[in-house]
């Protein structure tokens, strides 16, 4: 069901926090802080990962690109928190520099119908975009994410070229999305961001695939390993659709039990959001939440 999409692709500035790690030790250094393993991270590879605190709770979500002896990190937590946290963990003997790229680079996302047309219009053949890689096109890095029902194309580019590239994409059949439209679209796609994941256990918010319990220690690993050894997480994230907005917070729902609504987006009279519900309950059919007839659906875990 993709009736939430416009007939043409949408383009949004993700306002990501952009960091460049350089130096011969940067991959080993960053690997110590991520929940997944980048010890074999190769040039132009794409790797998505999570940073957690010592309690195993998400503090940031990052998309990485290896560029020779540098790593470009597009992360979602705002401010300097992640950069300062990383900086404080560089050992005296490590060759690592952490550089703020927020003013130099911008992260755009293109998604929805006919995205191929927009890229072809600027001279890029969509067939050149492989899985889990970044492709260099001019001064841009472009990556196709096929983890969801709807393709998501991430573009990193110099900030001083954003106007020109945006205009070219719009001329070739896409339109800009505001933040509210983007939140509506990504929630329908099932893309969980730091807005929902912050402070939560990754597996509870469909980020469990970003955890590698075989890589060794990382902040939060002890908690994740203990949860894993005691069986699957007790709860998971779902998407709901309703005709009216549902208040964020806890709700008792007949047939499910207690659910926690963690986001609620209203757009053009339609309401969609994410909720966390217990594992093992059937979510077939409509449920009443706050007197609102609500459809609850599983989302795809990347």
């Amino acid at each position: 069901m993709t009736d939430y999409l416009d007939p043409i692709a949408g383009l949004v500035d993700r306002k990501s926090s952009i960091t460049v790690l350089s130096g011969s030790d940067c991959a080993n250094f960053l690997n110590r802080s991520l929940t997944s393993d980048i010890s074999e991270f190769t040039h132009m590879e794409r790797h998505d990962s999570v940073l957690c605190d010592a309690n195993g709770r998400v503090i940031d979500i990052a998309s990485l690109c290896r560029l020779g002896d540098k790593i470009l990190m597009l992360s979602q937590s705002q401010g300097e928190i992640t950069r300062k946290r990383l900086q404080s963990g560089i050992s005296w003997s490590e060759d690592v520099s952490i550089i703020d790229g927020n003013n130099a680079l911008t992260h755009l996302t293109l998604t929805g119908m006919q995205w191929q047309r927009a890229l072809i219009g600027i001279g890029l053949d969509p067939e050149d975009l492989g899985d889990n890689v970044w492709v260099e096109f001019g001064n841009m890095l472009i990556s196709l994410n096929r983890d969801f029902d709807v393709d998501i194309i991430d573009i990193a580019l110099p900030t001083n070229e954003v106007l020109e590239v945006t205009s070219a994409l719009i001329d070739n059949g896409c339109r800009e999305m505001g933040d509210d439209r983007w939140d509506y679209v990504r929630t329908n796609i099932g893309l969980v961001t730091i807005e929902e994941a912050n402070g939560r256990i990754p597996a509870d918010v469909s980020l469990g695939s970003f955890i590698d319990l075989n890589k060794g220690c990382y902040p939060g690993q002890e908690i994740h390993a203990r949860m894993d050894s005691r069986g699957k997480s007790a709860k998971h994230i779902v998407r709901f659709r309703a005709n009216r907005p549902i208040e964020i917070g806890k709700h008792m729902v007949e047939g499910i039990g207690r659910i926690l609504v963690i986001s609620s987006i209203e757009y053009n009279g339609k309401s969609v959001g994410f909720a966390i519900i217990p594992h093992g309950v059937s979510i077939d059919g409509q449920f009443e939440i706050d007197g609102n007839s609500t459809l609850i659906e599983h989302i795809i875990s990347p």
């Binding site: 560029l67 470009l72 300062k84 560089i90 050992s91 550089i99 260099e136 220690c217 990382y218």
Partner: protein
Amino acid sequence: MGILGGEGFSLPVVSETEVVSVDIHFTESAKSALKESMNGDEDTHALVISAQSGGCSGFLYDMKIAQVENDDGFQKLDIGGITVLVHNKDSSLLSGINVDFKDTLMGGGFQITNPNADRACGCGQSFG
């Protein structure tokens, strides 16, 4: 030019670090194990104790015997005739630690207890 060749990048991030005067306590068993590990290289080598990101709790201890050519930025301690170096950036994390040595087959070796840590990992190598 490439994506990283343009303008607008900031200088490397510098985080302000609190520098304190380092005080480390070694138990007698830790001193004798350290002396044994130095293997007569006390005049040319030092024990460097540091903290780096990682581990289950956020930071990992690291101890290495090294020949440090340039000890700028390090604080130097004399532990029974052996030079122990702690970098200024790690001083607030490591000052006050107690270094012990347990001579057991399982879970033995140097052990650190850290009064600055809010939490420690089960393996004892990580703190936060």
